[in-house]
Amino acid sequence: MTQFLRVAWIVMRKDLTVEVRSREILYTTVFFAASCVLVFAFALVREGRPMEDAAAGILWIAIAFAGTLALGRTFERERQTETLRALMLAPSDRPAIYVGKLLGILLLLGVVELVLVPMVALLFNAPFGASLGWLIALLAGGTLGFVSVGTLFAAMLVRARSRDVLLPVLLYPITIPIIIAGVRGTVALLQAVPDEPMARFWAALLVFFDVVFVTLALWTFEPLMTE
């Protein structure tokens, strides 16, 4: 077990080192997410007033789109140097590599969300601060679910044709429950009186989702990655 965590930690640290040095994926993803928010704002705001629940919806859509981009770019980098093969050659449990990559991308998206949430709060006058704890729980659960499935799919698509378009094609249908749970939970928190039991329900659903799909991903990673 410690061996497993040690390898995951090493892979994550390497990813973070590479990213910190160039910051390419971080900057482009943050900017892309911000652009998304603006595009949707123009689509959904009428006469200066956003449609009901728009803030929550826009936040989660931006996270989903930005997440897909970050996943694609991270694995494209590994593909260009074929270093994913080098990782597969290591004498460690291969799912540890999956966990390492997952943690790296999770951290990256966490930073993106640190920018997105205040931005959405500002532009849409959304009182996110009211139940910050539950909001963080929803964001953490939802992002983990999204990235856990996304990391597996992006990794297995590295050797596939049409991988750029196939990642969203595969990822979005599976992660729709996450979007539903995230948006509904966030909307509940944005009510005049935050509906915490509702938010708790959706957060619980997200936790279940995470447990099931992380387990499934750990289980299927090795057979999927070996030809």
Partner: protein, 237 residues
């Protein structure tokens, strides 16, 4: 903790990709303390064979035994005894030479990381450039670094796919010397190459592949060049 063995046996190995047979019932045995050359024209199946030997690909039929055990039976520990230097060098261009080696040393679980990395940098003759990003290295420098990366964990079986590509004379000779040293150390070295000049001096045995089949496998000798030409000519006919 890693698995050790003194010979690798390829037993009736076949591998298909859809309708194409990349390898067709190949039989080959390589023992410790020898350098075996894998020769053949492009598309003969050399890279596929190396990929299967390194456990990156699974056979369609037949098996590979390391000592007396197959890859599946040995599990992850087997990979601690295998080293692969592929076409793509498996180096992170955004990291320095030192960081690349440190990462792989830690990944492979080698104790005493800084000593191992330092020794590897020395052998690769890259001590002065250790803290420069790999993206700035020439092909030869990357090749030397990649070779040391493949050897960090002191694998019993070393697989090299076209290692002489892009190397100048001096680097090529240095690589030959290094491989001889490894052979004398009791390792099994399998080299896929096109380069007959270097091959003649280096190889103990030669296996010639064409169209996925093993054409012949025997000791290297002076007439290698002619026999290789014959084998390839027949392939084209």
């Amino acid at each position: 903790m890693s698995v050790d063995f003194d010979c690798v046996t390829v037993d009736n190995l076949s591998r298909n990709f859809g309708r194409r047979r990349a390898l067709n019932r190949v039989n080959l045995t390589c023992r410790a303390g020898e350098i075996v050359g894998l020769l053949g024209p492009n598309g003969a199946g050399k890279s596929t064979l190396l990929a299967i030997l390194s456990t990156l690909l699974t056979p369609s039929s037949g098996e590979v035994r390391y000592g007396s055990v197959t890859a599946i039976a040995s599990g992850a520990a087997l990979r601690g005894s295998l080293g692969l230097l592929g076409h793509d060098l498996y180096l992170y261009p955004e990291l320095t030479a030192r960081e690349n080696l440190e990462f792989f040393t830690r990944l492979y679980g080698c104790p005493d990381v800084s000593a191992v990395v330092d020794a590897a940098l020395g052998r690769a003759m890259l001590r002065e450039r250790a803290d420069d990003l790999v993206s700035g290295f020439s092909r030869g420098m990357r090749q030397r670094l990649a070779l040391e990366r493949a050897l960090l964990h002191q694998p019993r079986l070393l697989l090299l796919d076209e290692p002489f590509t892009g190397l100048d004379d001096a680097s090529g000779q240095a690589l030959v010397a290094r491989l001889r040293g490894l052979r004398d150390d009791g390792r099994i070295v399998l080299v896929a190459t096109h380069d007959l000049d270097l091959a003649e001096g280096l190889l103990d045995r030669v296996a010639i592949l064409r169209d996925g089949r093993l054409w012949m496998a025997e000791s290297s000798s002076a007439s290698l060049r002619e026999r290789y030409r014959d084998a390839v000519a027949v392939a084209r006919a």
